[in-house]
């Protein structure tokens, strides 16, 4: 069965989008469509150009016998600005104010379309880095962690507050939460994380950074390496931040419970990449 160029373009686009950061040999496509490698090369040239022009991503060509193409998510600054602006608007809605100045975020974190966009954005910022695992802590960080990991084509490891029988043997640490100064526990299944893994820590919200810091301590227990930290929202006005280098999309500056006003601005996403 022969395929027309238009059909090949549609099918290849789908395949590449579903297999980010995987090296696909040209022969894979050539055999799939019964086409000459030269035609596949031309197809990929068109896809590459369109992906770049439309801000979909980057198609990297790896030459040689073991070569092929690799798709990386890349979000253009223009698109990133739009996503972050929208996040800020949604975050600032006074409806999400809870007693004690906490913010209701379930509607944002429960929206797969938003979570996907956030995942693409964070993955895009770490696409060039050597990341092998995404780590998060249950529960609210999980959807963002998967959205990032699926774009980076790496597994997700979930740290828990409690140990469950289905985790097998676990390593547990105590850590001090940065804002409440309480001692808390974190547990990770031993089999989940291999020694020497390069780990990107992802979470939904960071105040003083106690939880993220706890995960960093856990990495040490596993002899794994910290490759980066990415959060959706960071809270400003923190006396002492426990974590130095991190990427954030949104910064929460102030919550005025009395006036019902939430003040947010863009995080360090653009600043950190400059």
């Amino acid at each position: 069965m022969k395929f027309r160029r238009s059909e090949r373009l549609i099918d290849m686009t789908t395949y590449l989008l579903e297999h980010p950061r995987q090296l696909v040999p040209l022969t894979y496509f050539a055999e799939k469509y019964g086409s000459a490698k030269s035609s596949i090369s031309e197809d990929l040239g068109i896809i590459k150009e369109t992906f770049e022009q439309r801000g979909i991503g980057v198609l990297q060509t790896v030459p040689g016998a073991a070569g092929g193409v690799k798709f990386h998510v890349h979000v253009s600054d223009e698109k990133a600005r739009k996503v972050i602006d929208e996040l800020c608007t949604v975050m600032a809605s006074p409806d999400r104010l809870l007693p004690g100045g906490y913010l209701f975020m379930n509607d944002i974190l429960g929206n797969p379309a938003i979570v996907q966009e956030v995942g693409r954005l964070l993955a895009s910022a770490f696409a060039e880095k050597d990341i092998e695992v995404v780590m998060t802590v249950a529960t609210k960080g999980i959807p963002i962690a998967y959205a990032v990991a699926s774009n980076l084509n790496v597994p997700v490891v979930i740290v828990r507050r409690d140990s469950k029988v289905t985790e097998g043997s676990t390593v547990s640490i105590n850590y001090v939460s940065g804002s409440s100064k309480r001692i808390q526990t974190m547990v990770l299944s031993k089999r989940s994380l291999a020694e020497g893994s390069k780990v990107l820590i992802v979470d939904d919200f960071m105040k003083a950074g106690g939880t993220v810091n706890g995960m960093i301590n856990l990495l040490e227990e596993f002899n794994a390496d910290l490759a980066g930290i990415a959060v959706l929202v960071e809270s400003e006005n923190i006396e002492e931040r426990l974590v130095d280098e991190y990427l954030s999309l949104v910064r929460l500056s102030d919550v005025d419970v009395k006036e019902r006003k939430i003040t947010v601005s863009e995080g360090n996403y653009f600043a950190r990449r400059e």
Copy 2:
């Protein structure tokens, strides 16, 4: 700026894949590319045909002034069979045996590529149903729930075991776990679920169905409607199943701890759809 057909096909494919179950008016594409509606129609015809032939999904055309196109995930039986066979092979590996006959599943549930495939498969089975929300319970069901929800373009609602301050007011119920007969608690944020919502319950593992049954009771508290139940793995040899109608991909028949043998077979995915 004018676009060639090949560029339009690539960009439209990307857009449609990223916006499942959303009605996209032809004028959206016509304006985006500065093309005549007739050209867009032709483009969509090619995409529709390729999506169907390659088992990517279905492109539904809605006629009339308020019309447009809608992309639905559809996994062909051939592809579904392959995914389920692979899941069975992975599940049967004796390495995942834990003390007490429990199974380690973190590697499967932590793999975003597998989770995506499972999500597409389950979403495909419910694509024709009127689903408005996906519900799951923390923690292990969350990734699958998001994978299903993103393909169905609906929000996710996460039931918890404990109440957190960031959830706002909550509704809590007690339920009896089916296998251990213990009384447990389930909590859902009041704002998470609107009355009358049509809910698809998704989980990773179902034994007697106590947890799923608990979620059904919770739906009643919210005056929401059960639209379906989908699980990755169901356990056989259950004396009394608390849940009647559900969809499963894999069936766990036997775990022989002494012989280190895990027996699995395909779930009711194909049987239920016939």
